[in-house]
């Protein structure tokens, strides 16, 4: 009987082994699809544009991934990113390169604050982060009476490394994103935090009963999200050489999309930074691909929405979601 069982398991395992590659497959199909519709898409210069676009999106989404894997959500990313763009713009002329680490630190702090509100005041993350996001927007508006803060020539020097530097014709942001991606994967694979966030997402009571300080790790996750959002915002500010209270507007939904489109479950426990890398790429390809193929702009949102649902349909592993809510 044990034999029969193991056979069962084997078949199951095959499915388990294939499933993770669904997102990647989807991505490749997309690239080829667009390229067939509009030859010249899959060439270096275009793809590097996609890369640049996907990079910033990914940096934001990477942070979000940690939160979503814990079963929460961080709706404050775009507010945090905009806020960060203001901070970095204000700081660059004064402290030069230090502006970036400081900004990321600030992001970390506001992220932790969001996490604290969510965990300690026991407010669902959806509302908690919505509210903290509003507060951040308020702050960034106050910082310069709603004005855009331009990074003047002096500060711009320190921006070039993100803004317009290319290495072998690949935009630097892409490399930065790559670093973030690798770091993220390492964190997930090799650190307590990574391991525990999966445990908490997949079985919070069990994690508690194993003595894991659930609250602490949740707050940490929001901290990371904030820090990366800030980093994304800083990068944006550098590319646009100024900060503004609505710089990152409209980035929230693409960010969420980038996370879930590659099969990270909104319910938590399932997913990885790796998936988000693919997800960000998918979102950018769809977005830019539409422009490239020349889909009527009026219809682009429709296509985007449909593509989103389809991608999720293909990529999520339902066996790990007990009840689909």
């Amino acid at each position: 009987m044990a034999r029969v069982l193991s056979v069962d398991m084997a078949t199951a395992d095959v499915a388990d082994r294939i499933r993770p590659y669904a997102p990647l497959a989807l991505l490749i199909i997309l690239v080829f699809g667009v390229n067939i519709a509009e030859p010249g898409f899959a060439n270096f210069s275009t793809l590097s544009v996609v890369l640049a676009d996907a990079s910033i999106l990914f940096i934001l989404a990477a942070g979000m991934t940690f939160v979503i894997m814990l079963g929460g959500i961080d709706l404050s990313v775009q507010a945090a990113a905009s806020f960060a763009s203001m901070v970095v713009a204000e700081l660059l002329p004064r402290v030069g390169y230090f502006a970036f680490p400081i900004t990321i630190l600030v992001g970390l702090l506001i992220g932790l604050a969001s996490g604290f509100v969510h965990v300690k005041l026991r407010i669902s993350s959806f509302i908690a982060t919505l509210a903290t996001g509003g507060i951040m927007t308020g702050l960034s508006l106050l910082m310069a009476d709603g004005h855009t803060v331009a990074i003047l020539a002096t500060g711009r020097e320190q921006c070039l490394w993100i803004a317009d530097a290319w290495l072998f014709n690949i935009p630097n942001v892409a490399f930065i994103a790559l670093v973030v991606a690798i770091a993220g994967m390492l964190v997930q694979r090799y650190t307590r935090f990574g391991r525990y966030s999966v445990a908490i997402g997949a079985g919070e009571p069990a994690a508690r009963a194993a003595g894991i300080a659930v609250d602490r790790y949740k707050i940490m996750a929001f901290g990371f999200s904030g820090a990366l959002a800030a980093f994304g915002g800083a990068a944006l500010a550098a590319r646009l050489s100024s900060g503004s209270p609505d710089l990152a507007n409209q980035l929230l939904l693409p960010t969420i999309a980038a996370v879930i489109v590659a099969g990270t479950a909104i319910t938590g426990g399932v997913g990885s930074i790796g998936r988000t890398v693919v997800g960000a790429a998918i979102v950018s390809i769809v977005r830019i691909g539409m422009t490239f193929v020349g889909i009527d702009i009026f219809a682009q949102q429709i296509v985007f929405g449909a593509a989103l649902v389809f991608a999720v349909f293909v990529t999520i592993d339902r066996s790990k979601i007990p009840i689909i809510k």
Binding site: G71, R122, F126, I127, G134, G138, F298
Partner: protein
């Protein structure tokens, strides 16, 4: 043999047990005290609302002026309330509907383009609003269908339809803001009955209807059952799939109604007509004390929640709060409101 009993699929097992921590921790045997606390908590949001009103009234007497109560509050609360009615049932099931804005803009577009307007020669009279509501209801159904049949978490499914809806709206309007010239439609917004403008009455009707559904129909029961424990509900023979789809369809219907009123009020439709509605609706529902995890709360709570949010917005204008800090203040107040009123007994896990 060891594996026999264990490898048996635990029909209810796994998940009926998932609930035990809740029952165990929150309501330890003979925990009579917690019952009272729960009872009190149910009135938390209401207390918050009353407190808010009193503060505002003290700071600016004109808050209690008849005109403000009717126009500043009741009238501006009408559309949010109608939207909240739909969202409540969905959130009670532990799901969420992000597509409100998309669906609403579709509805608005249809109304405008079918009634007398300044961009085409149509004049379908009351068919405009009716078809709009029908279309929104259909979109709601689509939401439920995609979610239930394709087994995609509602969060993603509705996120998709959000974009689709906005897209449809943009295509149909070609971007321009189309004005509705049909006096009957405009009357929906301005006609007054017993000093209250029609939208208030519509909202009241919607509320009573939702209350009726919640309290007096099987649908209402099933929604709570699903939110309380989908697996048990299923075991007891509750038609879970049907109920879920129905709830989303219902939400579509309410959104359609809201769309008609929005057009009537604004006298035009543009694709930004629904901007910010979704977050506002969910916030209102949650502030009212309905848990995003499902099972607890109800349309009554949502009424209170909507009023809290509206009073906040109205109050900030009444007090002339600087626009720079609007969002910040709103954020703080919402955190405070929820923290004061949220049901803690429910579950150890807050997601």
């Amino acid at each position: 043999m060891a594996l026999a009993s264990q490898s048996a699929p635990p029909e209810a097992g796994a998940d009926s047990q998932v609930r035990t921590p809740r029952t165990k921790h929150s309501r330890a045997p003979g925990g009579g005290g917690s019952v009272w606390r729960a009872r009190l908590l149910e009135f938390g949001p209401l207390l918050v609302l009353i407190a808010l009103c009193l503060c505002l009234g003290a700071l600016n007497p004109s808050f209690f002026s008849f005109r403000n109560l009717v126009w500043g509050l009741a009238n501006s609360a009408a559309i949010p309330l109608i939207l909240a009615m739909g969202a409540t049932f969905i959130i009670l099931m532990g799901s969420i509907d992000l597509s409100v804005e998309g669906v609403l803009s579709v509805g608005a577009t249809i109304v405008v383009l079918l009634c007398i307007n300044d961009s085409n020669a149509n004049n379908f009279g009351w068919w405009g609003p009716l078809l709009a509501i029908a279309a929104c209801t259909a979109l709601g159904f689509l939401n439920g269908f995609v979610h239930v049949v394709l087994r995609i978490p509602s969060f993603m499914a509705t996120l998709g339809l959000w974009f689709v809806g906005l897209g449809i709206g943009t295509v149909a309007l070609g971007g321009s803001a189309v004005r509705v010239l049909d006096p009957h439609i405009r009357a929906l917004a301005f006609e007054r009955v017993l000093a209250f403008p029609l939208p208030v009455w519509f909202a009241a009707a919607a509320f009573l209807f939702a209350l009726f559904l919640e309290r007096r129909t099987r649908f209402g029961r099933y929604v709570y059952a699903i939110g309380g424990g989908e697996d048990i509900a299923e075991l007891s023979g509750v038609p879970v799939k049907r109920t879920r789809i129905l709830a989303f369809t219902l939400a579509g219907f309410f959104t359609g109604l809201a769309a008609v009123l929005a057009v009537a009020q604004l006298g035009q439709a543009n694709t930004t007509i629904a901007d910010g509605r979704m977050f506002m609706t969910v916030t209102a529902v949650v502030v009212g004390g309905t848990a995003l995890t499902g099972g607890w709360g109800g349309v009554g709570n949502s009424l209170v929640g909507v009023l809290i949010v509206q009073v906040l917005a109205n109050g900030m204008v009444l007090l002339g709060v600087s626009p720079y800090v609007h969002e910040a203040v709103q954020g703080l107040m919402i955190i405070a409101a929820v923290a004061l009123s949220i049901r803690r007994g429910g579950s150890l896990m807050i997601k």
